[in-house]
């Protein structure tokens, strides 16, 4: 359940940002979570419920942008959607693939008051 540590880090970031803006309530939070970021969404939802209790995020509406994995093949120079880390390049069958998207784990924005 590393998802719980991730939620706790989000709480820390939210708290820090809210303090900077002199805010006491976070109404909304927008997160980017890449499809290759090792976050299991069911576990994340569960961890979220536990983790935000009695914190500034308790009542925040959470919006999650799932960002699709993208790979770039060093052999044939193509860029393509990558569903699993073990998938081959669909153009040449090679495995020398650099990940260009899908690893995101980011607090994108907040609405505070």
């Amino acid at each position: 359940m590393h998802e719980l540590s991730v939620v706790m880090s989000i709480v820390d970031i939210a708290l820090e940002q809210a303090a900077k803006k002199d805010a006491v309530i976070i109404d909304e939070i927008e997160l980017d979570i890449g499809c290759l970021s090792t976050i299991e969404m069911n576990a994340f939802e569960f961890a979220w419920k536990q983790g935000v209790k009695r914190t500034i995020l308790e009542r925040a509406v959470k919006k999650v942008n799932r960002i699709k994995g993208k790979g770039h093949c060093s052999d044939c120079d193509h860029t393509f959607e990558l569903e699993n880390l073990y998938d081959a390049c669909p153009f040449c069958g090679g495995y020398l693939i650099g990940i260009t998207a899908g690893k995101e784990l980011r607090v994108k924005s907040l609405v505070v008051s």
């Binding site: 540590s5 970031i13 784990l105 980011r106």
Partner: protein
């Protein structure tokens, strides 16, 4: 807030809704007028990554080769350490950080080899993070020109996400685990630099297609090095020792 290093330990922090300064009579006005959008764009693992870089800088400055050992429970991390610490005692200086949820059994096993060891108990936490390692290192003060082994909590999922500041990540699987491990836990194989396949002495007794495992691991990470060995029979240990010595030499310029 952690007093020693000023970093946040991630405990639940409570905030009272009326914590800020203003007269309560203007409360409603205040609430309805103050909605703000804040562009944050901050990496959630930022704090861990900063501390990991700090660890890495410390290791580099002291010519310490730090290795993060990850595997499922029971793959043979501690056994490999016991062998290595005993066999290479005269060749290299070692220190060990042991990560476990509860017990100090593994630290006791390492201690028995005469090696400096620090135990981190993570409780419910299923992985080590850079903050824990920072404090363990502050406590043990590993010597200049040494090899620091960090045995992570037995788990092939969570530790993949947390950079500890290590130079090499070593993933260990054993032949009793089923040959679909790399495909089931691709992140760990993707983020590791060396894969050790342990317990090869048991190959005659289990259905484990070692070539298939190697091929699958290479699909995920073509640069992954693979060493097959057995802590019990000693087969393949020399290859591992040579790999380790090579890395140690690179980390410790004369």
């Amino acid at each position: 807030m952690c007093a020693t290093c000023g970093c946040d330990t991630g405990a639940t922090i409570t905030m009272h809704e009326h914590g800020h300064q203003h007269d309560h009579s203007d409360h409603h006005l205040h609430e309805h007028s103050h909605k703000k959008v804040v562009d944050v764009e901050q990496d959630i693992l930022h704090e861990n990554n900063l501390l990991a870089e700090r660890n890495r800088g410390y290791f580099d400055a002291k010519n310490i080769l730090a290795l993060n050992l990850v595997s499922s429970p029971g793959s043979g991390k501690t056994s490999l350490l016991e062998k290595t610490l005993t066999d290479l005692k005269g060749d290299l200086n070692f220190a060990v950080i042991e990560g476990d949820q509860q017990t100090t059994n593994d630290a006791d096993r390492i201690h028995a080899t005469g090696t400096k060891v620090v135990q981190i108990n993570t409780g419910k936490g299923c992985h080590l993070d850079a903050h824990m390692v920072l404090h363990a290192v502050q406590g043990m003060k590993p010597v200049q020109d040494s090899v620091l082994f960090i045995e992570n909590v037995g788990n092939l999922v969570c530790p993949a996400m947390f950079d500890l500041g290590e130079k090499e990540r070593v993933v260990i699987i054993s032949v009793t685990e089923g040959d679909d491990k790399p495909l089931k836990y691709p992140d760990m194989f993707h983020s590791s630099t060396l894969c050790i396949i342990n317990k090869t002495d048991l190959l005659p007794y289990v259905p484990f297609d070692i070539e298939k495992v190697k091929a699958n691991a290479k699909k995920i990470n073509p640069a992954l090095e693979i060493i097959e060995l057995s802590c019990t029979s000693g087969e393949g240990l020399t290859t591992w020792y040579n790999w380790l010595k090579l890395k140690a030499v690179a980390a410790m310029p004369a």
